[in-house]
Amino acid sequence: MRQLSRNIRLGIKNLLLHKLRTALTMLGMVFGVGSVIAMLSVGEGASKEALEQIRKLGSNNIIISSMKPVEETSSGSAMSRLSIYGLLYADETRISETFPQVERTVPVKLVRKEGSLGNMKMELRVVGTTWAWFELVQREVVAGRVLLARDQYEYNNAVVLTEHGARRLLATQNTIGQPLKIGRDYYEVVGIVKSEASQSGGLQTPDQEVDAYIPINLARERYGDTSVRRSAGSTEREKVELHQLIVQTKSSDDVEEVATGIEAMLKRFHKKTDYRLSIPLALLRQAEATKRTFNIVLGSIAGISLLVGGIGIMNIMLASVMERTKEIGIRRAIGARRAQIITQFLIETVVLSTLGGIIGLIIGVLIPWTITYFAGMPTVVTLFSLVLSLSISLAIGIVFGLYPAIRAAKLDPIIALRHE
């Protein structure tokens, strides 16, 4: 142990003798390790965000959304045409009755209506759904409560607002129990939930900032299935029964089977493809596969830079062995064994590479931090990447130091002593 600490001190001393050379040699390791950590953290951050979004949608869920068929847009009269498409109430019943693996289905109906409270007026996206929606889509309750099963059975005029909308409509966000007029009907604000910006790419959850959640039966009765949209001089009328259907299976093993079944069923009952299935689990798997590929590619690039760093170290150590041939001869003449010469040089390279690794580690942590700070990109520095890159730098010191060290030890002491 004492010998080791003495050897390390001697190694550091020798390295300090050529400060510039040591620093330049170390740069290879610094950048290698730094890039490994930085790349892994950026990759980890990007995929973690995507995975988080997908996971929120639930790995047991199948989300079926209504989609306006493409060919529909060109038919009918320009002034007033009625497009009928999308999921039907009957679809929900059929799905829950056909597949025993289905735990429950949650229907979602979207209606655009003006909401007013006192003098405040704003366009709301009314989401007609059931209490179960709040079970599937975990949403933090800011005040009051979410929709309950009895709201539906008792035809309660209850509305749950998202925080963002509530703040704009109500004087203070915690004021629940106030009457909110949606269309021609009054509802009591029973709860406020946290709004969450949905960024899950192709997936659309009925969860935008100014949402008002009401029991679906009220939405259906009061606002009907037909909506009118006026755009650029033409009136467009749409009849959509359900905008979204979330199907939860009993276990995530059933997801794929049920999804295939639902797809086949919908194909049979719908003339056009006016729906779209998205399976968070499949997306999750896809994202994970992408992440793996990403990591492999980034890892290889970083690995190459580490390799280059290692070769740099070997190069310098070979030069150092040449330079210190005489010293090696002296040590051998005095009685140093070959193994002791190897140890001496190996410790020097390991100190060099590990020191480079530690500096690289600091830089590798600072880079993602800077990226997050200035570019707002999420980055995650994992303990694994730190441990990995430090052990790699240690290993590189050993692997690339071994050859020069063995070469030093193999020198004939007589020849080494004669060396000038």
Binding site: I330, I334, P413, I414, L417
Partner: protein, 234 residues
């Protein structure tokens, strides 16, 4: 009984030792059937023109090389049969080297240079320090312990080298032209130091070119063409 007595007297024994080198395709006999014993407490000067085999002899005696044939007994151990590590251990325990060009390690201080054999012997740092101070005092360099070799004069460097060679309390001190790089008065001082050491009982074998230096040794060995030409003072 008498055999045991001879063994304790003779520290180093060469018996019909040959050493041949391959120079290109030609075999060169650097040592040709040399037999000689060096006794405890002797001070030998090895003389001879270059190529006479005295350096080869010193390398063999220093366990840096093995004889091609014949036996070399160092403290009753046959060097020929030993592994590389065992040769290292032998050098570490029984031998001290003094070189023409001093051969101090420039990045180490005087103290660290002197401590070097003790480090390989596995001494504790405190013991090393104490011993290094003792040795430095013995060669008259106590104040220079924390200097670098490059800050010293030639004579001082050779004193450090002598102190280092003494650190392991060797059986035999091997000197390869210790005055070769020094002016004559400094050289004289170094030879006097060696004489002092010999008087205290150290066995010394010294290669030299200079006849007046050789004359200060107790015994002289003249070599020519790998053979012992003559001996003086035996």
């Amino acid at each position: 009984m008498s055999a045991a007595a001879t063994h304790t007297q003779t520290v180093v024994q060469l018996s019909s030792v040959c050493k041949t080198y391959l120079m290109g395709t030609q075999q060169v006999k650097a040592l040709d059937n040399v037999s000689i014993g060096f006794e405890r407490g002797s001070f030998w000067a090895l003389m001879g023109p270059s190529g006479s085999g005295k350096s080869t002899m010193l390398n063999l005696l220093g366990c840096l090389d093995r004889p091609t044939s014949g036996t070399y007994l160092l403290n009753e151990q046959d060097v020929n049969t030993l592994s590389d590590d065992e040769l290292s251990d032998l050098r570490l325990k029984y031998l001290g080297f003094i070189f023409q060009s001093f051969n101090l390690i420039p990045q180490l201080t005087v103290r660290e240079n002197i401590e070097l054999p003790l480090y390989y012997l596995g001494w504790e740092p405190e013991e090393c320090t104490a011993k290094a101070e003792l040795l430095a005092a013995e060669v008259g360099l106590k104040e220079r312990l924390n200097h670098r070799p490059t800050e010293l004069s030639g004579g001082q460097m050779q004193r450090v080298a002598i102190a280092r060679s003494l650190a392991n309390e060797p059986l035999v001190l091997l000197a390869d032209e210790p005055t070769g790089n020094l002016d004559s008065s400094t050289g004289d001082q170094i030879v006097r130091l060696l004489q002092d050491l010999n008087e205290k009982g150290k066995t010394i074998i010294m290669v030299t070119h200079e006849p007046d230096v050789a004359m200060k040794a107790k015994q002289r060995l003249y070599m020519r063409d790998g053979k012992i030409e003559r001996m003086e003072g035996v």
